[in-house]
C-alpha cells in the first residue's frame, strides 16, 4: 500500500534535499513496507552520516533501520552527528 510521510533532513544533510524544496522538509510517497535505510538511500544520504534518525521524534537504532517502520502521515527526521549546549 502506498503511504505518504514527511522527510526532514537537517544541518549538512539538507544538501541531499531536492533543489526546489523550501526549508528542510519534503513530502514523499513510499510503500508501507519501506524501511528507514531505503529512504536514506533514496536521497543518497551516506548511511554513516545518518547518525540521529528519529521517527515521530523517537530514535531508531541502527540495527532497526532495515525493518518496516512507517505509517501514513509519519515524520522521519535525520541529522548527522550534532551537539550543542
Amino acid at each position: 500500500m502506498t503511504i505518504h510521510i514527511s522527510l526532514k533532513l537537517y544541518a549538512s544533510l539538507s544538501d541531499y534535499l531536492p533543489d526546489d524544496v523550501e526549508g528542510n522538509i519534503v513530502r514523499i510517497e513510499l510503500d508501507d513496507s519501506a524501511t528507514p535505510h531505503q529512504v536514506i538511500d533514496r536521497f543518497r544520504v551516506p548511511r554513516q552520516e545518518a547518525h540521529l534518525v528519529l521517527l515521530n521524534g523517537v530514535y531508531i537504532k541502527p540495527e532497526d533501520r532495515d525493518q518496516s517502520a512507517f505509517n501514513d502521515g509519519d515524520t522521519l527526521a535525520i541529522w548527522p552527528p550534532v551537539a550543542g549546549g
Binding site: 528542510n24 540521529l52 548527522p80 550534532v82 549546549g85
Partner: protein, 621 residues
C-alpha cells in the same frame, strides 16, 4: 607546571593589593579554576553570608591549561556566592580575557570587601592598580569597554565588565568580557556591582610557560586537536551551525520548553534555528549569520557573529545595532524564543545584542519574561504593572521593549530584574516560576529528557545544563545512546557527567571538547603540563571531590534535600505532544538512587565516609 602559582588578592575596602603564592596542596586536590576557586571561597567566606554584602568574595580564576596551546584553553570562571540562588556560583566564560590574565602571570584574582568609590582594576603583568570608574558608572558594557581602551590607548587590553543592569541590582546580571562572551549565570555580575567594581582590564605579555614536559605536552595537544578536527560534531557541526543546530533536534524529540514550559514543542522552532540563521533574508538577501568565531586557542569555533535586518522594527533608526556582533546561541534562542512563543529571528538577535550590551543572562531573562507573560495572560499583572506593554506570548515588540527596560533597570524592567522566582512570588503565583533553587531552566524539558530532570534538581548552582549534560547521551548518543524517556541508569549517568564536567571546568578547557574528547584525551594534556600524576581516574576523583565540596557549601548555606526538586508543572502536568506525551519527570524514581551512588545519606548529605574519602569536612553546624 602550567599554574603561575600566583594569586592577586585585592581588598576593595582599603584598596590594598597583595600577591600571594597559590596553595599548591589545594591545586593538587582541585586542579584549578572552578574547583580550586571554590575551595578558596569555601575556606574564606561564611556560606551564610549576604551574597551582596562585603563579606562575600568575588574570584576570577583560570585553569592550568588556560592560555596554553591546548585547544579551547582560554577559559576563565567567576566564583562567588550567588545572589539569585544563595548557592555557590561558578560561571565560565571564553573569549580572550582568561588567557590574558594567565599571560599577565596570575592564576586567580580574589576581590574582597567593598570599595567606597566606583573603581576598576587595571592589571598589566605585575602592575595592578585600582582606578576611578566614576566616568563609566551608569554606562553599558560596550561603552565601558570602549572608554577603557581609549583611556589606556591600548587595543590589546582585554576587558571584563558589568553593564547597567548589574548596577541597578538585576539579580541575574553577568560579567561580559571581550564584548560578547559572558560569565553569564547566577548573578555573578550583580556581586561585582555590589563591590563597586565596574571592570577588570588586563594586559599580559609574559605568555604561559612553566610547562612540565613541553615536548610531551605539544604531542598531547597535537593529538587532541586531531581528534577534534576529525570528529563530525567538533570538526563540522559546531563550526557551521553552532549550538543552534539543536533547535530542531530538541523540538523534534518533544523536549522544547515552550510558553513557560506549558508545552514541549514550539511551532516556530525552525524559524529561529541554526539552519534559519544561514537562510538569506528577503529584504537584503543576506543571512543572519555572518561568520563563526572562536575563543582563544579554540579549534572548534562554535561562536555566532550575526547581523539584524536593518529594516526590522527593533533597529529602525538605531544604526548602533546594524553592525555584526555576538549572535544567538541555542540557550538564548530557546529562552528568548520558544519560551516566549516568539519566532522572529531578528527580534531575538536584537535582544541577544542587548543582553550582551548590558550584561544579563538571556536564559534567566527569557524564562522570567515567559513567567511574566503567563501571569499577564491570566490577569495576575496588567498594563499598569508593565507600563502599558501588552505582555502576551508571541509579542515580539513587547519582548524588545521589556528587554530595553530590563537592561537599563527602568520601569517594569526593575521587576523583571528579580528573576522569575521572586517575580512570581511578588504577584502571588510562585508555582509559575520554572526554577530549581531559584535559577531558571535551560533548554531541555525534563519530561522528555528524564536524566536532565535529575541533573537540574541536583545541580549545585540551581537549574543548569552545564553541570551535567546528559542530553549528549540521552538525545545525541555521545558517548553512547541512552533512552531519554527511561529513568533506568540515569542516577549513575548524571553522576558520571557531573563529575567529569567538574574536572573539565577546573582545567581551563571548554566543556564542548567533550563531544569528541574523553578524559583519555584530556588527561595526557594536563599530565604533561602540570606537576603530579593526572590520569583519567585522578580527574574523576577531583571532579567528585569538587561536587561534594560544592554540595557542602550549599548545605552550610541552608539548602536541604527539599531543594533538590522540580516545579510541580514538570512533576504533575504531563507533556501533551511528542514522544513524551503523557509523561512527567519521574524524579522520585531517580533521586534516592542518586543519593546512594553519591555516597550521601537519604537526606542528601555526604556521609562521613564520603567526606573522608575526599579529605572534606562538614561545613555546617
Amino acid at each position: 607546571m602550567a599554574w603561575t602559582q600566583k594569586v592577586l588578592r585585592i581588598n576593595l575596602t582599603d584598596g590594598s593589593i597583595k600577591q600571594e603564592p597559590l596553595n599548591m596542596e589545594w591545586a593538587r586536590d582541585y586542579l584549578g579554576q572552578r574547583g580550586l576557586a571554590t575551595k578558596y571561597l569555601t575556606e574564606e567566606i561564611d556560606p551564610k553570608c549576604d551574597p551582596l554584602g562585603p563579606d562575600n568574595k568575588f574570584i576570577m580564576t583560570t585553569g592550568p591549561l588556560t592560555g596554553t596551546m591546548s585547544s579551547t584553553g582560554g577559559r576563565y570562571s567567576v566564583v562567588t556566592k550567588s545572589p539569585l540562588t544563595g548557592c555557590v556560583a561558578c560561571s565560565n566564560s571564553g573569549g580572550f580575557l582568561g588567557a590574558e590574565m594567565k599571560a599577565a602571570g596570575w592564576d586567580m584574582i580574589i576581590f574582597e570587601g567593598k570599595s567606597p568609590q566606583p573603581v576598576y582594576l587595571y592589571l598589566e603583568n605585575e602592575k595592578a592598580e585600582l582606578l576611578p570608574a566614576d566616568e563609566i558608572m551608569g554606562t553599558s558594557v560596550w561603552a565601558a569597554d570602549e572608554w577603557i581602551h581609549k583611556k589606556h590607548q591600548d587595543p590589546l587590553i582585554r576587558v571584563a565588565t558589568i553593564g547597567r543592569a548589574a548596577e541597578k541590582g538585576n539579580l541575574y546580571a553577568g560579567v561580559i568580557n571581550d564584548l560578547h562572551r559572558a560569565a553569564g549565570r547566577s548573578g555573578v555580575g550583580t556581586v561585582m556591582a555590589s563591590k563597586n567594581l565596574k571592570a577588570v582590564a588586563i594586559r599580559g605579555t609574559r605568555g604561559v610557560g612553566n610547562i612540565k614536559d613541553p615536548a610531551r605536552f605539544m604531542q598531547a595537544v597535537s593529538d587532541g586537536k586531531k581528534v577534534l578536527h576529525d570528529n563530525a560534531v567538533t570538526g563540522q557541526g559546531l563550526p557551521k551551525y553552532g549550538t543552534q543546530v539543536l533547535m530542531n533536534v530538541i523540538n523534534e524529540v518533544g523536549a522544547m520548553p515552550t510558553r513557560n514550559m506549558r508545552e514541549v514543542q514550539f511551532e516556530g522552532a525552525s524559524n529561529i534555528s541554526g539552519e534559519a540563521m544561514h537562510e538569506p533574508r528577503e529584504s537584503d538577501g543576506k543571512p543572519n549569520l555572518v561568520t563563526n568565531a572562536g575563543c582563544f586557542g579554540c579549534t572548534i569555533a562554535c561562536g555566532r557573529i550575526s547581523t539584524i535586518d536593518q529594516g526590522h522594527f527593533s533597529v529602525e533608526n538605531k544604526p548602533e545595532y546594524w553592525d555584526a556582533s555576538g549572535g544567538l546561541e541555542y540557550e538564548a534562542a530557546w529562552a528568548l524564543g520558544s519560551d516566549t512563543g516568539i519566532d522572529d529571528l531578528d527580534a531575538l538577535t536584537y535582544v541577544q545584542f542587548l543582553c550582551n550590551e548590558d550584561g544579563i543572562d538571556p536564559i534567566t531573562y527569557g524564562a522570567t519574561l515567559a513567567a511574566a507573560m503567563e501571569m499577564y495572560e491570566m490577569g495576575a499583572i496588567d498594563k499598569e504593572t508593565t507600563g502599558g506593554i501588552e505582555l502576551r506570548f508571541g509579542n515580539a515588540e513587547a519582548l524588545c521593549r521589556v528587554t530595553e527596560l530590563t537592561c537599563r533597570g527602568e520601569g517594569f524592567g526593575i521587576d523583571m530584574g528579580l528573576g522569575s522566582r521572586r517575580l512570581c512570588e511578588k504577584y502571588g503565583h510562585p508555582e509559575l516560576s520554572m526554577t530549581v533553587k531559584g535559577q531558571e531552566f535551560p533548554a531541555y524539558d525534563p519530561r522528555g529528557v528524564q536524566g536532565m530532570g535529575l541533573g537540574y534538581a541536583t545541580s549545585n548552582r540551581g537549574a543548569c545544563h552545564l553541570r551535567g549534560y546528559t542530553v549528549a547521551s540521552e538525545i545525541m548518543g555521545i558517548p553512547e545512546k541512552t533512552d531519554p524517556l527511561t529513568t533506568d541508569g540515569k542516577p549513575e549517568l548524571v553522576k558520571a557527567f557531573q563529575d567529569m564536567t567538574a574536572a573539565v571546568d577546573s582545567s581551563g578547557l571548554c566543556v564542548f571538547t567533550t563531544f569528541a574528547w574523553t578524559l583519555e584525551d584530556i588527561a595526557p594534556q594536563i599530565d604533561a603540563a602540570c606537576e603530579g600524576d593526572w590520569s583519567p581516574d585522578k580527574l574523576l576523583e577531583v571532579g567528585e571531590r569538587i561536587w561534594n565540596l560544592e554540595r557542602d557549601f550549599n548545605i552550610a548555606a541552608g539548602m536541604t534535600a527539599k531543594d533538590d526538586t522540580l516545579p510541580k508543572r514538570l512533576l504533575k502536568d504531563a507533556a501533551k505532544t511528542g514522544p513524551a506525551t503523557g509523561r512527567v519527570n519521574d524524579l522520585d524514581q531517580m533521586l534516592p538512587k542518586y543519593y546512594e551512588v553519591r555516597g550521601w545519606t537519604a537526606d542528601g548529605v555526604p556521609t562521613s565516609e564520603t567526606r573522608k574519602r575526599f579529605g572534606l569536612k562538614a561545613l555546617s553546624a
